[in-house]
Symmetry: C2
Subunit: 299 residues, 2 copies
């Protein structure tokens, strides 16, 4: 069976694995990134990790998921907030030379989307749209098992989509950007504003919903509407067969996703209401998705 190496480069940890063409993780290693030691150090670490994997020479290619937008036709990151120094750094050349296998880069959300499209919730669909609702909000379209990365890697930067222009300015994102109104961090902020308490997680807000707190119920309802407005914008551009949802906030899916779907249905043309809403199925979308970058690029 064909095998590929998948690497998930994060600001905190690096993971590397051998993944077979069916998406099974055959062996895996994990280390701290230690970004403070410099980019060359981190690249050497990735090479050592690859060499520590059983049978790595029999793999067909290497996919690397990175935490930021990638210009895929040049195999470089265009923005690298969490791995400083990696902007426009052609480290793929170093790894290709050391390991002797072709390297394919894309961002972590795109990689997770590809994993879900090939082996997860969208495996039977031509057009999937993956959405992660976690600290932030990101997304990616996968069309016929190819990720739409965009001109400069900014396709899927949906956290910056405006869902209501009558909000406050918080950061570099647009006023009313969905990431500032419906992400995990936004839930904490909006919970704090409402209850004047020291919320530290979105889960605390959902716990209040479970306890039938009317203010919490109203706030989660408002946030679900905000997310639905963004999803309706995406749907009118892409018209996917399925939205696949990942990210930590989806741990509270039963309290949240049905509301989002209800409002989505109100905001799209009738025939679009049977676009499916599904949860991500894969436990390790990072490394599996990274491996799939290689698989889909090589075949």
């Amino acid at each position: 069976m064909k095998k590929y190496i998948g690497i998930d480069l994060g600001g905190t940890n690096v993971r590397a694995a051998v993944v077979d063409e069916l998406g099974n993780v055959l062996c895996e290693v994990k280390q701290e990134t230690e970004m403070e030691k410099g980019r060359e150090f981190v690249v050497s670490k990735m090479i050592d990790m690859i060499k520590s994997l059983d049978d790595y020479q029999s793999c067909l290619g290497i996919g690397i998921a990175v935490p930021g937008p990638v210009k895929t036709d040049e195999n470089v990151m265009t923005m690298a907030t969490n791995v400083p120094g990696f902007e426009f750094y052609e480290f793929y050349k170093i790894i290709e030379k050391e390991i002797g296998l072709p390297v394919f880069l894309d961002n972590d959300v795109n990689s997770a989307a590809l994993a879900e499209a090939v082996h997860g919730a969208g495996k039977n669909d031509n057009i999937i749209y993956y959405v992660t609702v976690s600290t932030g909000i990101g997304g990616a379209a996968v069309i016929n098992k190819k990720v739409l990365s965009g001109r400069f890697g900014y396709a899927g930067e949906i956290g910056n989509i405006i869902i209501d222009r009558n909000r406050k300015k918080y950061n570099h994102l647009n006023i009313g950007a969905v990431e500032n109104e419906a992400s995990g961090l936004a839930m904490i902020r909006r919970g704090r504003e409402l209850f004047n308490t020291s919320f530290t997680s979105a889960k605390q807000l959902f716990d209040l919903v479970k306890a039938n707190d009317p203010q919490a119920i109203k706030l989660v309802d408002d946030i679900a509407y905000d997310l639905a407005v963004m999803l309706s914008s995406v749907a009118h551009v892409v018209d996917p067969h399925v939205f696949v949802f990942g990210g930590g906030v989806m741990q509270s899916k039963d309290l949240f996703l049905p509301l989002v779907k209800k409002y989505f249905d109100e905001l799209v043309h009738d025939a679009m209401r049977d676009i499916r809403f599904e949860l991500a199925q894969l436990n390790e979308p990072g490394i599996v998705g990274a491996a799939m970058l290689a698989k889909e690029s090589i075949k």
Copy 2:
């Protein structure tokens, strides 16, 4: 040189042409649709028109641009407001049988987008986003010269994207849908509301701008911002190399498009500001685009 037949089926007229692979129209016929005589009549008319074209037997295939969403994997319209009876009507089979060439269907906006991607303003770009601002607003992504039609043909129904949820309800579209706030019809309505006059065209509003009317200048500025909000949503999903603009409102491009670009730049990440804004280049995107549907599907 390879040749294709392009048909533009509209609610008012049908046009048919032989188009070569470079996008040149070699011969063309036009007739009234006469939809009131029934769908079978209109299909017979299309067949007769094809047969009247010089040398039609030497073409490789037939593309048909239709006025509504198409489920391309089944070659049928899914909504057909302007050509009643054509919903889910497999008339492609009748034409294939009569003419002996393969038939490919897509909607008129998608066809125009494809024409611009292959022979027009986006011919050197991998990812183009075509936007028509006319009576309504529509769009289409063309990725590596393939139109993204979506699951049910609703990809590009961007007229329904919400640009400000604090507006009035006018019709079946969302409150604050960009088509109700920035299309040609919307310009007429907003002009009438502001000036309490009997505007009948968007041009009248632009004429007031040319005459330095401060209220008209403010209104066109507001409308440009509304359109820019929609374009920023699309850009965060697709990250195209270029937006290509067609439609009647673009006749006033000099008074309008630079404003739209200015606001767009404020609403996207820095690196997205060099997404190009260009005007559609083709005079007959309907029939050329239709012919390109056949060309791109066959090759």
